[in-house]
């Protein structure tokens, strides 16, 4: 690793965590929107009713705004980092979503899932270690 890569990596990690946090909250808002419809089994016969209820719910639209912000941050990241680094690194959502689900939705996370989350954390760290390849390209 060369001189600039420490700051480069720090900025990339900060941007990815921001992007993944926005994406995870987007997921949380979609889930809250889906829960607020009161329909827990969507089939063909009640699909229109489900669609009408979810589109009249603010959580869905807040989720869509978060997803758009997430998309443009992803394009910004790709302009600075290789896809083979950015794609594995953006798996932070798999780490953030379970915590949001526990805190805001009262869901329980199975031990096998925790084992999977630990493997994902190791993978994200490994990807981050190989991020500093595009020297000299400033991160936004």
């Amino acid at each position: 690793m060369k001189n600039l890569s420490g700051i480069f990596l720090l900025k990339v990690v900060a941007l990815i965590i921001l992007k993944d946090t926005i994406e995870s909250f987007g997921d949380l808002f979609f889930k809250m929107g889906a829960l607020s419809t009161g329909i827990n089994n969507v089939v063909i016969s009640n699909f229109l009713e489900f669609a009408a209820r979810i589109t009249s719910n603010p959580w869905l639209w807040i989720g869509i705004i978060f997803y758009l912000a997430n998309f443009f941050l992803w394009i910004a990241l790709l302009s600075r980092v290789d896809l083979s680094v950015a794609f594995p690194m953006s798996s932070f959502t798999y780490i953030i979503v379970p915590f949001l689900a526990i805190i805001f939705l009262g869901e329980k996370v199975h031990p096998v899932r925790w084992a999977g989350i630990i493997l994902i954390i190791i993978g994200v760290i490994l990807a981050g270690r190989s991020a500093g390849d595009k020297e000299g390209r400033p991160v936004p």
């Binding site: 443009f72 992803w74 394009i75 910004a76 990241l77 790709l78 302009s79 290789d82 896809l83 083979s84 680094v85 794609f87 594995p88 690194m89 798996s91 798999y94 996370v109 199975h110 031990p111 096998v112 899932r113 925790w114 084992a115 999977g116 989350i117 630990i118 493997l119 994902i120 954390i121 190791i122 993978g123 994200v124 760290i125 490994l126 990807a127 270690r129 190989s130 390849d133 400033p138 936004p140």
Partner: protein, 124 residues
Amino acid sequence: MSVKLVLLILLGELFICSAQFLFKTGADRLKFHGLNTIQEYIFFVRSSLKIPAIWGGLLLNTLAVIVWILVLALVDLSLAIPLDSVHYILILVGSRFFLKERLTWERVAATLFIAGGIALVAVG
């Protein structure tokens, strides 16, 4: 699994991965200074919407969502989620061959750990 289902899944993977390769190709052509102010962010969003490859990626992503909904209509969600880990491996291989990125052992190991982790999250 029927032949139809396997073909649908392959088509979905093809759309999802090609969308990412198009996003990356488009992002490499982007020129912007930073994202420190609202003005800079708006300038960045406008410039990215002028790049055809990014629109192409969005179109392929939309097609992928449609294929994904068809797949979910045929199989259980718990069977479909581990497919997420397949993207990671295809993206890694595609980055090497289509985008000519350098694959270090760390990048390969990172992808394998995450793919394994997602499979565990899916079965857990």
